[in-house]
């Protein structure tokens, strides 16, 4: 669930900084990058399930910020604009046909290889928290891209339906329908893999 931290609060109240960035203040632009990079990276990571690709897309997103933020007309449009740019770059990577399996970096990969098979889980076995990330990531990757992006934006980025609709240029009802089907699919995935709150010891 989306948890509001101090950083998140700061991001919500950065209107003056966004305005300065639109006006060409490079210090303000740099501050915005520092504020938003983690959010956008995690969004891209959940969407692409690949650390290197997520970093590359994130860098492209913020290079675009430096180049194009002056064209932004309203301060309130900044958040939607940024996510739209990131989503477009993510879709571009999908169109290139990359296989995204490298959720963890090289250092983490060795220690998590045994968790990748999926048949490792026994209903009576307690799944450790460190494997939870990959498990949920695999669940997300079973979704269609349009369902995945809606679910990530709603469940992890805390965006409102109206904001998601603006980012994806769709109606709110379409966004909600996609979310419904996405949650239904994840529900079936969990049921198939016997994943529940009890097995996760949550």
């Amino acid at each position: 669930m989306y948890a509001e931290t101090l950083l998140d609060i700061a991001m919500q109240h950065a209107d003056s900084m966004i305005q300065q960035a639109i006006n060409g203040d490079q210090v303000a632009q740099s501050k915005l990058v520092n504020l938003w990079f983690k959010r956008i990276y995690n969004y891209n990571l959940k969407f692409l399930s690949d650390h290197d690709m997520a970093m590359e897309v994130s860098q492209k997103t913020f290079i675009c910020l430096y180049e194009k933020i002056s064209t932004l007309k309203k301060v309130t449009s900044f958040k939607s604009w940024l996510y739209r740019v990131a989503t477009n770059y993510c879709r571009e990577e999908l169109r290139k046909g990359h296989t995204f399996n490298k959720y963890f970096t090289n250092d983490e990969d060795e220690s998590n290889k045994k968790a990748a098979s999926g048949t490792y889980y026994n209903p009576s076995q307690m799944i450790e928290h460190k494997e939870l990330g990959q498990l949920l990531q695999r669940a997300l990757m079973t979704l269609k891209p349009e369902q995945r992006e809606v679910l990530i934006m709603k469940e992890y980025e805390g965006l409102k339906f109206v904001e998601i609709a603006e980012i994806l240029n769709e109606s709110e009802n379409t966004v909600k329908s996609r979310l419904y089907y996405g949650l239904t699919h994840i529900r079936k995935y969990f049921a198939t893999n016997n994943i529940s709150k009890e097995t996760l010891q949550l």
């Binding site: 990079f37 995690n42 430096y66 939870l132 990330g133 339906f161 419904y180 239904t184 994840i186 529900r187």
Partner: protein, 284 residues
């Protein structure tokens, strides 16, 4: 018509975004459709599980710390190996430069290592021949003989020095006073000359002034006389003209009077002449 909520309405219900009226309708529907209610419950659990997916911490890349469009290249060539290589090369170049500038030289000649800076090292000075003992003795004897000369007493020396100093002082005093007198004389002469110069110059200036003044005055008087003469001529001309005009008028008037007089006389004569004829005709 049976009410069946749409998918987006169920999502609104799941996320608590429904108004009370719609919420009651949906809950009434769910009461009659437990499988849908079960689905929603499971979706709630799914959301709860998904919420455990923590964000990963990440650092902002250096590339993005400032505007990348201002950097010359997105990828830097200065890896640690390159940095080390460049540092070593810079150190070698620096040492060579210092050696060149200081003229550092190192030679190995005649089993000797010579290190020098600047000019080539000078060749060692050959040893000079030592003074012989006899020559040394002769020098000593000469010095002693000089020293054996009678030494004057301190008082006489003082007296001599005093008289010598006195003489010097007197001579200096004389020379000094002479010089001073001469300077005074020269100064007086200079002052006299200057005074004479001033006198002549002032006399000349006055003469010049008076001359200029008289010339100016004369010119002025001449001008005044000329103007007066012109004025008198003009006046004379005007007067003559005036008299002429008057005479002309007078003559004209006289002529006119004469003519009139003649006319009058003529008319009188005519009348007189015509009077007897009228009388003769009346009688007939």
């Amino acid at each position: 018509m049976k009410y069946e909520p749409e998918k987006h309405e169920l999502i609104d219900y799941l996320y608590g975004n429904v108004r009370d009226e719609e919420k009651k309708k949906i809950e009434a529907y769910l009461q009659h459709h437990p499988e849908v209610k079960q689905e929603l419950e499971e979706m709630k659990n799914v959301r709860s599980v998904l919420g455990k997916f923590d964000d990963r911490e990440v650092l902002v890349p250096d590339l993005l710390q400032k505007n990348p469009s201002q950097t010359t290249s997105a990828k830097s060539l200065m890896t640690p190996f390159m940095i080390r290589l460049v540092s070593i090369a810079a150190a070698i170049v620096l040492v060579l430069m210092i050696g060149y500038l200081t003229g550092f030289q190192m030679r190995y000649e005649q089993k000797q290592l010579t290190i020098s800076f600047g000019n080539t090292p000078a060749t060692p000075v050959p040893d000079q021949q030592a003074i012989t003992q006899a020559e040394m003795q002769a020098l000593i004897n000469e010095a002693l003989s000089k020293n054996k000369q009678p030494v004057l007493s301190a008082d006489s020396i003082k007296g001599e020095i005093r008289s010598w100093l006195g003489g010097i002082e007197e001579a200096r005093h004389k020379a000094f006073s002479k010089k001073v007198d001469q300077m005074i004389k020269e100064q007086k002469q200079a002052l006299n000359n200057y005074a004479l110069q001033l006198e002549t110059k002032s006399a000349e200036t006055l003469d010049e002034y008076f001359q200029n003044a008289s010339i100016n005055q004369r010119a002025y008087m001449e001008g005044v006389l000329v103007d007066f003469t012109k004025y008198m001529d003009e006046q004379r001309l005007q007067d003559r003209q005036f008299y002429l005009n008057n005479l002309v008028d007078l003559k004209y008037a006289a002529d006119v009077q004469q003519q009139e007089t003649e006319q009058i006389l003529t008319s009188i004569m005519n009348r007189v002449n015509s009077l007897p004829e009228e009388n003769e005709t009346q009688n007939f």
